[in-house]
Structures are given as structure tokens and as C-alpha cells.
Symmetry: C2
DNA sequence: CCTCGCTTTGCAAGCGCTTGCAAATTGCTG
DNA sequence: CAGCAATTTGCAAGCGCTTGCAAAGCGAGG
């Protein structure tokens, strides 16, 4: 038999630990898995493991029917800070229970979701976290069919009843808009996110709701469809600013879009917030770093990641736990990009 | 024996494939591993695999002494687009050889590099890619000791002779500076990166070299120590702009820093590039998206990732392949953030 | 002091795969 | 067409672990 690689000779197995501790290998296994073992033996095993520097072999573990102690995280991309924040939360939580993270980016296997899921689930991970998947239904079907532990992040409003973690997007849209109204703005531009996503639609709904609650008209010209990306927001902002009666504030559906707005505004020599107020959504780290710092609706991304990891973990350990949908609160973070409109149109 | 999870019943193994194809299971294994098998049997096995939808069980594979077909990627963080670009390149290359990616972020296990490496190497991956590791020596020692396939990305100038992939940082610094000089700039500010990193030092060296080749004085006041992050660059830029005789151009050691400079410049009501030229380094995607678009020294990050993956792959398959250090060329990307200085000081 | 039920322990089997070894098959050569 | 080397093939073992099962240990009730 070939050694897997010319790895260092002292690869410690449970047999070594068992010998050192003077117990049987199954006892060692039971210690590792927290099964019933008498206190003194457990003690001895633990000491032996520490002395020998034992490291569990995950593949053997999961082959033998145990857990692999790895969960999969499915995202589109990583460069978007949004994903990274979530990943960070997940990672934190996993570190606490010494799980590892296997990262899958979807872009490379478009349209083959179920084959993909088959591969993933069969191979390695104990559970799967899907962040804002493009084709959730296809995944879910494959996953559900295999009864495989999974949790969706930021993907509410599905027909299915599916374990998920999200944020109060509509409330966030409402709060942001209301804040601008309170400041005295009457014409508030809105740049949507990718409207195929529920979170984008919810934010827009919140905007409408706030307007209507304040008795303000909803001018369709003030709404421009974006896609959560900076260049699109840049042109949306230009469109809005070109209006005969331009808005005095612009609410962008995410921070990245807000940055695009800031660019467009400055490009015309307008000042922020003196000439126009800008509001974002998400509160990615850059929001606090730009000048002026961006007032935004904070979405607790890392916290969502943590919650999702915890939830997934329950499903891993109790496959029949009830399906839960966690919704975390958004929060308005007031910084410096908004102020009352210059020529106040206060009624 | 417990099934690993309540997974779908039809989990196809090589035995099933063997039965279907009418051959022995070892023949199936040999087909999978491209060992010598007669053409007709290979054919039959392949067809059977396709029909049954066979998916290899990676843990069994690697337990049995084969490859796991997973490589590890070690990065600090993901939010930084720099890392993501590299990861994308790696991922592309791996997709081509149907390898998977296991992601490790270092922040959570500070100072325990060798224990960490022990765990990683022993557990899962066939090889490890280290991107700009903070404590390369510690990792390398552990890795080398285990003779474990690994490649460093963007970490030249090490005492060791180590497999690595990098870019021509000094040349890039030289080219960028020379470009500004050609444009007519004489006082060129420079914001360094984190000088504990070789790439940052190299870029600075290129700046110095270009200045000296052009017979220009090196004014230390024009050099400000940054850390590759936006806020620090913002204050550096302010410092530079406060000089009695401020620079007419600022060369930032990465694009993110250049964005910080742009902010600082605009914050004072100066225009880019009319009042001051700005040059970046890296060419992350945002560089093309900001306004004005950023002239920058392109570092082929994705290509570096690909090259690193390929190199690692050779080491995985030929543990004794010669240690290779690949250096990819940088390239000046001219966009709109630079132009000749306003009050030209052409000699 | 024996017996019963509970917990702790050890043994063996097996997870799905790779690969050394030996047997079977093939293709040549003389 | 026998005889030999070079393939191709199958069998069995084993990678490191978990866990069912049965044996052993233990305290308490009779």
C-alpha cells in the first residue's frame, strides 16, 4: 500500500493513541465522539492525544459514517464584500465548533445544479449553505430530494417552506425612506437592486410603503432599476439627476450602488450631502470609509452568516428538526451623507 | 452500520458500475485512474458510469491512498478583491482538471501555523496554495518538513528556495513612475504598501529607480508609508497635498489606496486628472469602473492564480519536480486619471 | 451472596476506494 | 504451433475511522 504522500512518518492514528493510553481504539473513538466513557479513561486518552499530537483523519471519519466536519458554502463570487461578510460570520461560527469550510463558487457550473448538488452532497460536506443562489429551486429540489441539511441565506419569499436566514429588507427600505422624509426630502430617488431577487423587491416595497404612509406621491420617474452594481447605479443616478425636477435625495438599494451614485453626483460638481443626500443599504465596511461616510441601512451580514451556520448545525445533528426561518433586524446607521434638502420644501 | 446521512438510496459505487459493465471493480477503478485497461472495457465502464450517474467518493479515494482532488487555498481575507481575483484564477484552472477548492482563511488561527499545516496536510488536500502569507517561514518549514506540495503566490524575496508565482513588481513601479515622468510630472508622490511585504518594497524600489534613471531628485517628503488600505491612503494623500510644494501626481501602491487618494483629492475640491494625476497598481475591476477610470499598473492576478494552480498540480503529480519560480509581467493600463501637469514644469 | 439491569469496553465488520500480486489473456517469435 | 514476454484482469488487503453487538464490570435489590 502506498502512503498517501511522502508525508512525515509520524502520522498518529487512534491506534497509536489507544496504545499510549492503554485502552482499546474504540474507546479512543468514543472519546473523540463524546460517547459514554469513564472519566479516568477519557482523561488518559485526552492526555495521550495531546502528547502525540493526534489529528483526526477526516476522510476516514466520514467514510466510516461519521461526520466530515466540513460544511459547504455556495456563493456566486467572493469579490463582493456582501458575500465575504457572510462568509466571515459563517467561518467564525464554524471555528467555534471546529468545523471547516469548503467553498464553492457557482459560476463555473451553470445549469447543472442538481448534478452539482449530487456531487457535493455525496462527497464531503455535512451540510450546505446557499447564499443568494441564482437558481434556488433547482438546488432545493436536489437537496430536498436527498434530505440533505441545508440553509438558504438571504433568499426569502420562496414558494417552498425552506430553512433560511434573512433580514428585514422591507423594514429597512421603510426606515431608510422614512428617515429621508423626516429630514425634509420630498422627492426621493430610488435605485433598485436586481429585482429578480426577493430582497431587492422587499426594499423597494419598503420605499413605497414609507412614501404612502407619509402621504407622498410615488413618482415612477424617481425609481430606476439597478442591479446592485456600481456602473449601473452610476447611470441610474445620472438619469435621476437629469430629471426636470431631480430628487434631493437618492436611496440606493445597496452600498455599492450608493458609491456609484456618489461618483455620478460628484462628476457633476455637486456636493454630498449639501446638494444631494445619499443613502445606502448593507453597511459594508467601505461605507464607513468613504468621504463623506455613507448613511446606510445596516444588514447584519456576519450575524446572518453565524445564524445560518448555527441553524445548519442543528439540522446536521437533528435531521428532523423543524424548518425554521430566521429574520434578523436591519438598522439605520446615520453617518454624513444625508442632511435636510437645501431649499427645504417642508410643507 | 449507519448510512452517513439519510441520503438518497441510489448512491452508486464502483461495484454498481462494475456489475452494470460486467467487469470487476478494480477495472472500474483503473478506468477512473487512467491506468491500462483495454479499449472495449474502458468504453463499457464509461458508459455504465454515465448511465448510473456515478460520482466518485472523494474520501474513500483519498483514504485508500489516492488523491483527494482537492487543493487548499490559504488567504487572509476574501473581501479584498486582490485575493478574490487570484482565487478566481485558481478556481478556473482547477475546474479544468476537476479539482475542488478548500478555502482557509488564516485570521482565525494566528500563530499556530505549523499545527495548522499539520492538520490541513494530513486531512484533506493534495496540495496547498499560500497567498501572501503573513508568516511564510513558519508555514514553509512545516510544509517542507512534510514534503507536502505547495506554492506561494506573490511572495518573492524569501531566503528559501521555494516554489512561487509572482509578478514583476519592481518593473511595474518603474513603468508607472516613468509614465508619469514622460507626462511631464516632476514631483511625484508615492504611497507605499505594507513594507513588510516584498511586493510593496519592490514597487517602491521601481519608483526610486525610475526617478534616478530620469535624473530626478528623490524627495523623501514625497513618500508616504501606507498599508494597502483605503483609509491610510486617504491620510497619506492629505499629508502629501499639505506639502508646501505638493506633488502634481500621486502613485499609489495599489488601486484601493488610489481610491483613497481620489477621495482626499476630491475632498479638497481638486479635479482628477486636471489638478492632479493618480496612478494605481493591480488593476482590480473597480479601477475601470470609477470616474475617471483609474490608470494603473496591471498585475495579472487571475493569471497568477492559474499559474500557481498549474504549478502546484505538477508538484502533486511529480513530487520531485524542480522548484520553479514563475514571475509574470505587469502592464501599464492607461485610462483617464493621469495627464500632464497643469502648470507644466517641463524642463 | 447471587442475580438483574445498567453502563463501560473490546472486537470485528465495513464505509468506497486503490493497488500489489498473481492468474489469465494476448501477441509475438522462432 | 509451442513458448515466452507483455499486457490486462481479478482478488484481497488495507487506508483510519465509527458503531452494532456481545462480553465484562458494577451497583443494588432480594
Amino acid at each position: 500500500m502506498m502512503q498517501k504522500s511522502p508525508i512525515s512518518p509520524q502520522d498518529i492514528t487512534i491506534y497509536d493513541v489507544a496504545r499510549e493510553a492503554g485502552v482499546s481504539y474504540s474507546t479512543v473513538s468514543r472519546v473523540i465522539n463524546n460517547k459514554g466513557v469513564s472519566a479516568d479513561k477519557r482523561e488518559r486518552v485526552l492526555r495521550a492525544m495531546a502528547e502525540l499530537g493526534y489529528v483526526a483523519n477526516l476522510q476516514a471519519r466520514s467514510l466510516a459514517g461519521g461526520k466530515s466536519h466540513i460544511i459547504g458554502l455556495l456563493v456566486h463570487s467572493l469579490s463582493i464584500e456582501y458575500f465575504d461578510e457572510i462568509a466571515r460570520g459563517v467561518d467564525d461560527e464554524l471555528a467555534a465548533i471546529s468545523y471547516d469550510l469548503m467553498l464553492y463558487t457557482t459560476h463555473r457550473r451553470k445549469g447543472r445544479e442538481s448534478a452539482y448538488v449530487a456531487k457535493v452532497t455525496r462527497n464531503l460536506v455535512d451540510g450546505l449553505l446557499l447564499v443568494l443562489p441564482r437558481n434556488a429551486e433547482a438546488y432545493l429540489q436536489a437537496l430536498g430530494h436527498r434530505r440533505f441539511p441545508h440553509v438558504l441565506v438571504d433568499h426569502q419569499g420562496l414558494g417552498f417552506d425552506v430553512p433560511s436566514v434573512g433580514a428585514t429588507n422591507q423594514q429597512g427600505g421603510y426606515d431608510g425612506t422614512s428617515y429621508l422624509i423626516t429630514l425634509g426630502h420630498r422627492r426621493i430617488g430610488f435605485i433598485t437592486g436586481d429585482l429578480t431577487l426577493g430582497c431587492a423587491r422587499d426594499r423597494l416595497a419598503g420605499y413605497h410603503e414609507a412614501l404612502s404612509d407619509a402621504g407622498l406621491p410615488a413618482d415612477p420617474a424617481l425609481i430606476c432599476e439597478g442591479n446592485f452594481l456600481q456602473p449601473q447605479a452610476f447611470s441610474c443616478a445620472n438619469e435621476l439627476l437629469n430629471l426636470a425636477e431631480p430628487p434631493t435625495a437618492i436611496f440606493a438599494s445597496n452600498d455599492v450602488s450608493a458609491f456609484g451614485v456618489m461618483e455620478a453626483v460628484r462628476n457633476r460638481g455637486l456636493r454630498i450631502p449639501d446638494d444631494i443626500s445619499i443613502l445606502g443599504f448593507d453597511d459594508i465596511s467601505q461605507a464607513a470609509q468613504v468621504h463623506p461616510s455613507l448613511t446606510t441601512v445596516r444588514q447584519p451580514l456576519a450575524e446572518m452568516g453565524r445564524a445560518a451556520a448555527r441553524l445548519l448545525f442543528t439540522y446536521i445533528n437533528q435531521p428532523d428538526a423543524a424548518i425554521k426561518q430566521i429574520v434578523l433586524p436591519t438598522e439605520l446607521i446615520i453617518r454624513q451623507s444625508c442632511q435636510p434638502p437645501a431649499k427645504s420644501t417642508l410643507a
